[in-house]
Structures are given as C-alpha cells and as structure tokens.
Amino acid sequence: MSGVMDCKHARLEIGGEPHALSAEVAQHIATCAACAKFRDETLAMESRLKSALELPLHHFRESPRKLAPRRFALAASVALAVLVGGGAWLFRPQPALAEEIVEHIRHEAGSWQAHDPVPPEVLAAVLAKAGVRYDPHLPVTYASPCPFRGHIVPHLVVQTDNGPVTVMVLAHEHVDTYAQGTFSEGEYHGILLQAGSGSIAVLAPKGQELDGALKELVHDYP
C-alpha cells in the first residue's frame, strides 16, 4: 500500500474504468510499481478487448437465418410482372379483405402526411419482420410493421410522381388470380394483386388517379 489508497481499491478502479482514473489512483500508481504494472497490463488488454467486441459483421452474416426472406420486389418482381402483365382481373377481391385494409389505413391516416424518406435500414427492418425484401426506386415516406389479420405486415407509403400511395405487403394473404382486382371502399380505392404466395394491396384516396402510380410501382404494369 502507498498513499491514502490501498492496492486493492486502486485495482478495483483500474479494472473498472481504466481510461478514467481518479487523481487518488494516479497518485497511488506513481508510487506503487505493482499497481502501475497492473494498470499497464489492463490498458494493453483493453485494446484487445475492444477488438474482440467489434465483431466483423461479414462473418456475422455468414450463416443464413432460419427463415429465408421471400422476395417481393414491387418494382421488378418477375412473378408479379407476369401476373399483372398477363392480364386482367375479372372479379372483385374478397370484399372483407379490402374492407379490412381500408379500415386499417383509416386508423393510420397520419401516414399520408409523412414526408421524410424512410432510411433504407428502417425500411429493410420493417420488411424483414414480414420476411420480405424490396429494392426501392421510389421514396418511401412511411414504413411501419402493422398487425393485420394475426400477422405483422409492412405498411408503406410510397411517393410516386402521381402522388403518394399506400402499399401493404400481405405475405400471408393468398388471393388467387380470380379474386385479385380493383376495389373501392369509402374514401379510398385500390387494387389487390397476387404476389408470390401472398398479395400486395395498393391504395390511394379517391380522386387521386391510381393507374399512373401503379405503372411506376409495378414493373410491366399494362
């Protein structure tokens, strides 16, 4: 021991906060070779410790996750392009589904007022929660993982040159080609499209033309 602080307490501080030692510990170290050595060893270990904690993320992502994300590239989905490009929706979608979608949109009316583009990291996070990916070429100003029919679904507002549209990615809602199609509910109109094993809903307020937005949003839209 030297000075007013003993070695035990000096080492407690060194081990607890090696980069911010108090004046008392500094004073102790100046007169205690053993504690000075302990401090030097701790500081040497500290740089290794920092390196150890800074995991290389390229290794981190080596193994695939348990659930491989499905691809729903709204702008360039081959599956979607074929279905939409291939033709026509002859029947109305299930009315109950369309009604529930519009009801959900009404509860998040503020989403239409969002103007800041959602950062790619946030958008990816929202979509990943539903197990889907999207490579956006249009700004997304609202992205939220929303509970819908017992699942978490991405609810997006995409800014097109023809105005904002709401897109809901319904990975768990299968609609067959006969059930997909346009719908009109209250103050909104929209379209429900089959995509992969699920579907996507695109909506806009009535009075806002939807066809132009769909051409921007959906590759090969007729």
Binding site: K8, H9, R11, L12, E13, G15, G16, E17, P18, A20, F38, E41, T42, M45, E46, R48, L49, K50, S51, A52, L53, E54, L55, P56, L57, H59, F60, E62, S63, R65, K66, H115, D116, P117, V118, P119, P120, E121, V122, A124, A125, V126, A128, K129, L138, P139, T141, A143, S144, P145, Q159, T160, D161, N162, G163
Partner: protein, 174 residues
C-alpha cells in the same frame, strides 16, 4: 410533374446517423443476446422505434446512448413477449458460431468466447462501457445500480478475462 417530397435536413442527418451506428447496434445486441438472429430482430425493432421517435432527439451526440438504451429495452421486451429460450453458451461454442471468427487470430477468438461466457451481470456493463462508450455513471443509471456496484462488476468482468489474456487475476473485492 414531380410531386415527390424531399426529406428535411434533420431527418436526412438522422438517417445517415442510423446507417453509421447500425453495425455497433448489431454488435451490442449480439453481446446481449448471444444469438445472431435475436440480435437482428432486436436491431430491426430498435431502428423502427428510433425512426418513429426521432423528434425526441435534439442533440445528435445523445443519439448513440439513446439507441443503445432502445436496444437494451427491445432485447428485454423480446424475451418477455416471445418467451424465448435462453441461449446455451455451450451450444453456441459447439456450433462454432461464425460471429466469433477472427480471421486467423486465435487469441481474439478465445477472448470472444471468454466474453460470451461471462455472466450477464458482468458482460452487459462491460459491453456498454467498451463498445457503447458509456461512463460508469451512465451505465449505473441504465441498469438501476449504484456507480460503485457498476465499478465492481466491470472490475470482475476484466478480472475474469485477465486469465485468458495470460495475466494473473487480481484479488477480488468485497
């Protein structure tokens, strides 16, 4: 006609900050959860929540500790919500988790394994301090502990790691 809105400068700056900080958030979440998939889920929740609450942040310098706090809370919430099984660290080791790989530096990989084996009560403040850059007072506040208690946990964490580093552990403190 182009009707697309542009983001505000503040939001653009915040978006860039999220992009910059994301890797450390993933690492931080991994050291808490010891599971890569859980860490990714936690960070996804964190980013979504942070973006929704971005107006709360007035000082950009406060963003990092704020995000780390959200990671901690989301990690706790995830276990509460999903009742996830706790990670058996022997399983993680046996599987040779690539997250711990170190490009040929075996000593570093050993150190990572040793950190993973630390009890939560020691590992968490250590990661908060070294990776998160938090002071002992900030850690104490977040963990609901006194500053001396945090100091003791940090000392014990490093003391356990000294041996793997080829150093003699110090005498423990009461």
């Amino acid at each position: 006609m182009n009707t697309r809105p542009r983001g505000t400068t503040a939001s653009s700056a915040f978006a860039r900050l999220l992009e910059t900080l994301r890797p450390d958030l993933v690492r931080f979440a991994f050291w808490l959860a010891r599971d890569r998939a859980v860490a990714e889920d936690v960070v996804q929740e964190t980013l979504i929540r942070a973006w929704k609450s971005r107006e709360e942040i007035k000082d950009p310098a406060a963003t990092r500790p704020w995000l780390l706090t959200i990671v901690r809370r989301e990690h706790a919430r995830l276990y509460e919500r999903k009742r996830l099984p706790t990670v058996d660290i022997d399983d993680v080791e046996a599987q040779g988790d690539p997250a711990l790989a170190s490009d040929g530096d075996a000593g570093l990989e050993d150190l990572r394994r040793a950190i993973l084996k630390l009890p939560d009560e020691y590992r968490e403040p250590l990661v908060m301090q070294v990776l998160g850059g938090l002071t002992t007072n900030e850690i104490a506040e977040q963990l609901g502990l006194t500053q001396p208690a945090v100091l003791t946990r940090l000392f014990r964490a490093r003391n356990r790691l000294r041996e793997i580093h080829g150093l003699t552990p110090a005498e423990d403190v009461e």
